[in-house]
């Protein structure tokens, strides 16, 4: 009999569900991909049903549901910090047993539910999927229950966290505070600040250092004079603009050099602290390998620096390093508890979501007015797509199982030729409507990586940056400082995407493609063929590849479909408060 464990993260933001079957990760998906509500916090019911289906089991086969957080400890922190939005009566009237009750009622589940702590889940989501037998573990985020940073070690099946930094001292909240001050949304704008940094000069490092005091061992402390997030309304106090001598930037207004300078100064201080703490962790554990998770671990620039500047030889970052990935960690912890064994398989890829067959796609397409062709020969298909890419076309690429985590990695991607001088602006104008300062990222054939990028190991999850050393001019994917956030693509994990890169290389000599996520701004990445079609008809993507089916924009008049889907469709919404972290 299989040991079937469901892992869940839910109720704050980015809910997700995964399933482990005998220690093997069979499926994982964020609820937002089904509900189409970005950052959906609701209990992941659709994701749960998908996981059962993918694993070929029913609810009665589940041995345990593992939840990623301790609601009691979280409540304690919420009570301690206080908020102007809650009163004693509102707290009394809240159902504090709601998490388990909702899991049971809304899943229809009678079996065991186990609760694991937030950072414990983060730590497990990295260590147990790393393939390492021994590793140091560093988790860094805004806050879980009380912990904001934890230090641990994993050896075999055993994972132990031996030190933590407690709320309100938090590197994640420091970063989010500056993110808010720079006019970006909290919880979703942090990587924009990371992308802005290379444009600036580190003129404000000393100011940033006034916000945070480095401490002994793994400790550090925020200077709360500058922060106001305890009351749950905004991130920074009035002292922060005074410190920088600059009023907060309003959203969607011009980004000035001073904003870039603050961004890079923040990045410098963050890296300083992380590198020092990584060194401390190495001293404590003596491990060669480092595992990281938590939202701050999505700062891929810092990740690269940590590996280069610390004694660690290898680094594994959980691809879904944010709260969605905690579902994986909780499941792994439950697996270890129940089986006594560690998970043995390394996370080699994140293609853990649903896929869709040709029959269903054909049925869908035949209901539409779209003209399409079907190319069942894989080799011929990639040749035709490569040809279009070489002609400068922007391709919506939908193939295989959907990725888990924030990055598109060749299953639900928008692809383009990275060599064009105007490709970044074109894709921004056509599809993404992003800030102009943000570059796109490249996917490269693993075998050809070393020729074009200064990185000596595979990077399948786009979690590290490195310098571009290619002889090709690649303006669309090269950042202002010459760096890129690379995805290396192997034939083993994504044969068709690898074949496409090869076909493109055969045509052009360049084994690199621009790879960005298949979605429009403010919407989740597409999940099913219908959403891919909607994205296709409401943007200027030149060609959509839906598995074996090729739909060219130039062969179709999509103006009516665009009008319908642009103007008449109701878009579900959930709004993270853009001004303050989700504490409640």
């Amino acid at each position: 009999m299989s040991l079937n464990i469901i892992g869940i993260s839910a109720f704050y933001h980015d809910s997700a569900c995964c399933i482990l079957q005998d220690g093997v990760l069979k499926a994982a998906v964020q609820e937002e991909r089904f509900s189409r509500k970005k950052n959906d916090p609701d209990l992941p019911k659709a994701a749960f049903n998908y996981c059962l289906k993918e694993a070929g089991i029913t609810i009665s086969d589940i041995d345990c549901i593992a939840y990623y957080e301790d609601p009691v400890k979280k409540l304690s922190r919420q009570l301690w910090s206080g908020s102007r939005f809650v009163t004693a009566d509102s707290i009394r009237n809240t159902d504090h047993a709601a998490v388990e009750r909702q899991i049971r009622e809304q899943f229809g589940y009678d079996g065991p539910v186990r609760f694991y702590e937030h950072h414990q889940s983060h730590a497990a989501s990295s260590y147990y999927y790393s393939g390492y037998d021994h590793a140091a573990i560093l988790t860094v985020d805004g806050v879980g229950e009380w912990a904001t940073t934890t230090y641990g070690v994993g050896k075999g099946a055993k994972l132990e966290l031996f030190e933590e930094v407690s709320f309100p001292d938090s590197l994640g909240l420091l970063y989010s505070t500056i993110t808010s001050y720079l006019g970006f949304s909290v919880n979703s704008g942090e990587y924009k600040v990371m992308g802005l940094a290379p444009y600036g000069k580190p003129l404000y490092v000393d100011k940033i250092r006034q916000l945070i005091r480095n401490g002994e061992a793994g400790q550090y402390e925020l200077n709360m004079e500058y922060f106001d997030f305890l009351k749950g309304e905004k991130m920074y106090s009035e002292a922060l603009p005074v410190l920088f001598g600059l009023a907060p930037r309003k959203k969607e207004t011009a980004i000035l050099p001073v904003h870039e300078d603050i961004a890079v100064s923040l990045q410098v201080v963050l890296e300083e602290i992380l590198i020092e703490k990584a060194r401390y962790l190495h001293e404590r554990t003596g491990a060669e390998n480092l595992c990281m998770a938590g939202g701050v671990a999505l700062n891929c620039v810092a990740n690269g620096k940590i590996l280069k500047s610390s004694p660690f030889k290898q680094l594994f970052v959980q691809p879904a390093a944010g709260d969605a990935g905690c579902a994986l960690g909780a499941a792994a912890l439950a697996h270890t508890d129940l089986s006594g064994e560690a998970m043995t398989s390394q996370l080699e890829h994140v293609y853990l979501g649903p896929s869709y067959g040709s029959t269903d796609i054909k049925k869908l397409l035949s209901a539409t007015s779209l003209r399409y062709t079907q190319q069942k020969d894989d080799e011929e298909l990639v040749k035709q797509v490569a040809q279009r890419l070489a002609e400068g076309k922007v391709i919506g690429w939908f193939h295989g199982r959907m990725e888990f985590g924030p990055r598109s990695l060749g299953a639900r991607s928008i692809l383009a030729d990275p060599r064009g001088a105007d490709m970044r602006d074109r894709i921004n104008a056509m599809v993404k409507k992003r800030e102009a300062f943000r570059p796109f990222a490249p996917a490269v054939l693993e075998s050809a990586t070393g020729e074009h990028f200064d990185i000596d190991h595979p990077s399948p999850f786009m979690l590290e940056t490195c310098q571009v050393i290619s002889s090709f001019d690649l303006p669309a994917i090269t950042h202002v400082d010459g760096s890129a956030r690379v995805q290396t693509v192997s034939e083993k994990t994504n044969p068709r995407f690898a074949a496409l890169l090869k076909a493109f290389a055969d045509l052009t000599g360049c084994p690199i493609l621009l790879n960005t996520s298949f979605n429009v701004r403010d919407e989740p990445i597409v999940c099913n063929p219908e959403e891919a079609l909607i994205c296709f008809v409401t943007t200027d993507i030149d060609c959509l590849i839906l598995e074996d089916f090729i739909i060219d924009n130039e062969n179709n008049d999509t103006s009516i479909l665009e009008m319908i889907n642009q103007n008449l469709l109701e878009r579900p919404s959930f709004e993270l408060n853009p001004n303050v972290y989700t504490f409640i």
């Binding site: 009691v72 009570l79 009394r92 809304q106 909607i534 579900p572």
Partner: protein, 610 residues
């Protein structure tokens, strides 16, 4: 300066969290900990600035100076809401004609006939066709989806138009305002909670809800007079409900949680009442339906069965009372019921309007007299509350008569309301969309068929629209991607206002089996045979011989957009003794099921039948 709270309080927070999580919320220990943590019941004042919206707008209209006069033009920045209003680009400056401003909701909009045929148009034509003294202009500010709060705002804004008279045709959307009033007032909330949740006493809950609703309606009347000033003539036309031909929806019919063995008793009584009705045994039906009501006075279906039994006995007055009571169970907010005029609202207006010098046109009474005491149904209503052309004609005639009285005009009778008719295409489209709208809200096949046939009677051209609709609804693809929707949208600009009816909720498409079947049957009467096409398409798209189907998908169990509206589970949650699913399969074809089910508390001898 922000400081962090004392670390010594962390233990207290831990302790309080543990106590609260174990269900203790009001012990001395808990209260002490709240105090020590500084958590009180005082909320800090909201220091965010409130934005005052003194732009001079009247709904979607903004003031503009044209040739020295102020006119009101539609504001392009509010284009998203244009289709909720009349299709009138400009409201001219006040002239010499008597200005009647019409304010209201979708009934006043003439929903489904709008913009081709509206109450304002009919009223204007009647007034100018029959007045012996004055000329009139009717300014149509009716707005679909408007609630009481919005109505008050619109009224206030509309006074800038210098009306000589204001006409309200509203009240169907006020339940939402009642709910808001209760939720934002601790005393009201506590009273309702005590009656409904703690005591589970439906009768006293009803009394409290009606008392509060009456208070709300009374305050609206007072507001109207206060804001409008003492001299402004105001008429309030009370809407009516489609008592005979609008029945409770699947969402309204879900079975309540009842104490003791109430659920089993209720189901048994219901099943027996239905059998009795089928067998035309009115007395037996009455007995069983009475039993249903005794067990659950909040449920509409018992009253509907009683009404049907009395209709069998031709006891129309009694039937009417039960149909009104069924309608009014929406006061318990069992689900998100469609708009309606509640008895308490009507009674309050009838009793209190005169005290505020507000004239009343009681459309329920007008319809009753028009029908010689019979109960209003599909002849006067396109759906739950929106009038047919005839309904508008009769209602507006009554309003016109009152306006003549108030303005000192004599009605010449030259122009009859029946002579003011929509054109054939408008009429056809109204009935087609009535069929669709009724289907979406769970009405029976007979009503859907009635409207489909009516649509074809008014215009054979509508057949084409029906054919495309049938194709679209049988596809498994979402409507927003179907080529038939593209054809429908481009083929008829009159669809603008109602195009959303052609788009289903996300992941909520159903096969609309009853509606498609009704269309196929109606088309048959017009010589169009679509049966085989529909059968073949259903088989291709949903046939279980071709593909496995997931019964959890709405195609295979939902019959309307109004299924249970509580928290959705990850599973199909049975809310009745019998759950119905749909399959497409050939007659003798074997079908295989893979079902996981759980029945909490199932008795040892309990059976589950598939």
């Amino acid at each position: 300066m922000s400081v962090r709270p004392s670390s010594t309080l962390r233990e207290k927070a831990d302790a309080l969290a543990l106590l609260l999580s174990s269900g203790q919320s009001s012990t001395i220990e808990v209260n002490t900990l709240f105090e020590e943590l500084g958590i009180t019941n005082e909320q800090m004042a909201d220091t965010s600035l409130s934005i005052s919206d003194a732009t001079g707008h009247i709904g979607i209209y903004k003031p503009e100076e044209v040739d020295g006069e102020i006119v009101y033009s539609r504001d392009i920045s509010r284009k998203a809401r244009w289709t909720y209003f009349a299709d009138i680009p400009v409201i001219p400056a006040k002239g010499t004609r008597k200005r009647v401003v019409l304010l209201g909701e979708s009934v006043a909009r003439g929903f489904l006939l709008d913009p081709g045929f509206t109450p304002a148009q009919v009223l204007g034509t009647l007034l100018n066709g029959n007045a012996d003294r004055d000329e009139f202009e009717v300014i149509d500010l009716a707005e679909t989806n408007l609630g009481m709060a919005g109505l008050k705002e619109r009224y206030r804004e509309a006074l800038d138009l210098e009306p000589d008279m204001v006409l309200f045709l509203a009240g169907n959307n006020w339940r939402e305002d009642l709910v808001n009033m209760i939720l934002t007032d601790k005393t009201y909330l506590s009273r309702v909670r005590e009656a409904l949740v703690i005591n589970q006493d439906i009768s006293s809950a009803r009394a409290i809800l009606e008392e509060l609703f009456s208070e709300l309606v009374g305050s609206f009347l007072e507001y109207v007079r206060t804001v409008g000033g003492p001299a402004l003539p105001v008429i309030f036309a009370i809407p009516e409900f489609n008592l005979l031909d609008c029945r409770s929806t699947p969402g309204e019919r879900f079975i309540s949680r009842l104490p003791d063995n109430g659920i089993a008793g209720w189901i048994a009584a219901r099943d027996q009442a239905e059998v009795a009705l089928k067998e035309n045994d009115a007395q037996r039906c009455i007995a069983q339906a009475t039993g249903m009501i005794a067990l659950d006075p909040s449920h509409p279906y018992g009253y509907e069965l009683l009404a049907d039994a009395h209709l069998l006995l031709q006891e129309y007055d009694k039937a009417r009372v039960y149909l009104e009571t069924a309608r009014d169970t929406a006061l318990f907010c069992r689900t998100n019921s469609k708009p309606r005029m509640f008895n308490i609202t009507r009674q309050t207006i009838l009793q209190e309007a005169a005290g505020h010098n507000i004239e009343v046109v009681d459309i329920p009474e007008v319809f009753r007299q028009h029908l010689n005491g019979r109960i209003p149904g599909k002849d006067l209503f396109l759906d739950y509350c929106h009038f047919t052309a005839e309904g508008i004609q009769i209602a507006m005639q009554a309003v016109a008569d009152r306006i003549f009285t108030l303005s000192g005009n004599k009605a010449s009778g030259k122009l009859s309301p029946a002579s003011i008719r929509p054109d054939q295409e408008v009429h056809a489209m109204a009935h087609l969309f009535a069929a669709i709208h009724n289907a979406h809200w769970g009405q029976q096949y007979d009503i859907l068929y009635h409207h489909c046939v009516k649509a074809l009677q008014y215009s054979k051209e509508i057949a084409r629209t029906m054919i495309y609709y049938c194709d679209m609804m049988n596809r498994s693809a979402s409507n927003n991607l179907c080529k038939t929707l593209e054809i429908l949208v481009t083929g008829n600009t009159r669809l603008d206002r109602y195009v959303h009816a052609l788009l289903h909720p996300r992941s909520g498409k159903t096969m609309e089996i009853d509606l498609v079947n009704a269309m196929v049957a109606a088309l048959q009467t017009a010589g169009v045979n679509l049966s085989k096409y529909v059968d073949d398409l259903r088989n291709k798209e949903h046939g279980v011989a071709v593909q496995a189907v997931n019964l959890l998908e709405t195609f295979y169990h939902a019959t309307s957009y109004d299924e249970y509206q509580g928290t959705k589970a990850a599973f199909y949650q049975a809310r009745d003794a019998q759950s119905v699913f749909f399959l497409v399969a050939a007659k003798d074809e074997p079908v295989f099921f893979d079902i996981s089910l759980r029945v909490p508390g199932l008795q040892d001898d309990g059976k589950i039948r598939v």
